[in-house]
Symmetry: C2
Subunit: 160 residues, 2 copies
DNA sequence: AACAAAATGTTATAGTGTTACATATCACAG
DNA sequence: CTGTGATATGTAACACTATAACATTTTGTT
């Protein structure tokens, strides 16, 4: 498994590098999958990567509207595409969306979400996945999709 | 930790016993906490325990309406109360609510949700909690609330 | 150039949850 | 009891999130 795009999103870092890497890997992934990263879809992905804070669909819509007009289906379709090819996730506990840190790699969506700075960090913890598989196997349950969203305080916000 | 109300909700069982036990433990818990389990709140809790399928707020509203009238705030307030005292949970990935199987005991909400029969089972897996704490501690993150919702197929639905 | 498939625009509507304020019920002190 | 403040419920309007249905444009291919 290669390096995640943002390994420590809660600590100060060169975020432009996150953005550049995310867009570069998105390009590559879409080329490989023959998926069309159109200007609109690219724009939405860029908006998602503006920060590590998950963004609501209507907030994206606002930002898209500067210049062109746009209605809800526009942004929802772009988000559907990004989720389908594995470039973004939806966070059910926030009704918000975020760029994927492991594009093109099979992984379960596991997220840490700071209630103070609102940033989120995508984990891909084998230990968590394993313990979930163990707990579910004991019940004879076969896992198809997992929603793991941990709310709390990130290291940086705890200092204050 | 005492026995959960429904240990194996996916397998055939005497569900009336689930209901009776849930209501009895709710009474006891509210007495202990000096919380008021009013007729309305009790009714909503009974509706939640009609089956092991999580129920949407507007679906509860429909059922409340047989007889008395009711508007959204009525059911949302009852659900808020039930969640506050620890008698119910909200499942973010479903926008639905379900009765708690471990009332009065400190536990993280972890759920298995079958896409075929729609039933859900509340886990309280120490292993899952531990691996989450480990993974988050490594990042210096302090957990306050966890959303763990595992979608898949239950043992019974896998047989078919 | 002609055509089919994919993407986007547009309007309306469905589904989920909250705000604000009025009314009713309850608990408790006097 | 009875008044009084706190808690719970009724009611109407509204905010936020997401989708359906259909028209139009763009793209890739023959
Ligand atoms: Zn970054
Ligand atoms: Zn991801
Ligand atoms: Zn049962
Ligand atoms: Zn519970």
């Amino acid at each position: 498994m290669s390096q995640p795009i943002a390994d420590h999103p809660f600590t100060p870092h060169d975020h432009q590098q996150c953005i550049d890497q995310a867009m570069a890997r998105a390009e590559a992934l879409c080329r490989r999958q023959r998926a069309r990263l159109t200007p609109l879809r690219r724009r939405v992905l860029e908006l998602l990567w503006q920060s590590h804070r998950p963004v609501g669909a209507y907030e994206l819509l606002e930002q898209l509207r500067t210049g062109s007009r746009a209605a809800p289906p526009t942004v929802y379709r772009a988000l559907d595409f990004l989720q389908r090819v594995g470039l973004a996730h939806r966070l059910a506990s926030l009704n918000a969306y975020t760029g994927c840190c492991y594009p093109g790699e099979s992984h379960a969506g596991q997220f840490l979400i700071c209630r103070s700075c609102q940033a989120s960090s995508e984990l891909s913890s084998a230990g968590v996945s394993r313990s979930i598989r163990q707990a579910t196997a004991a019940a004879g349950f076969s896992v198809e999709q997992q929603t793991v969203e941990i709310h709390g305080l990130c290291s940086r916000c705890r200092e204050d």
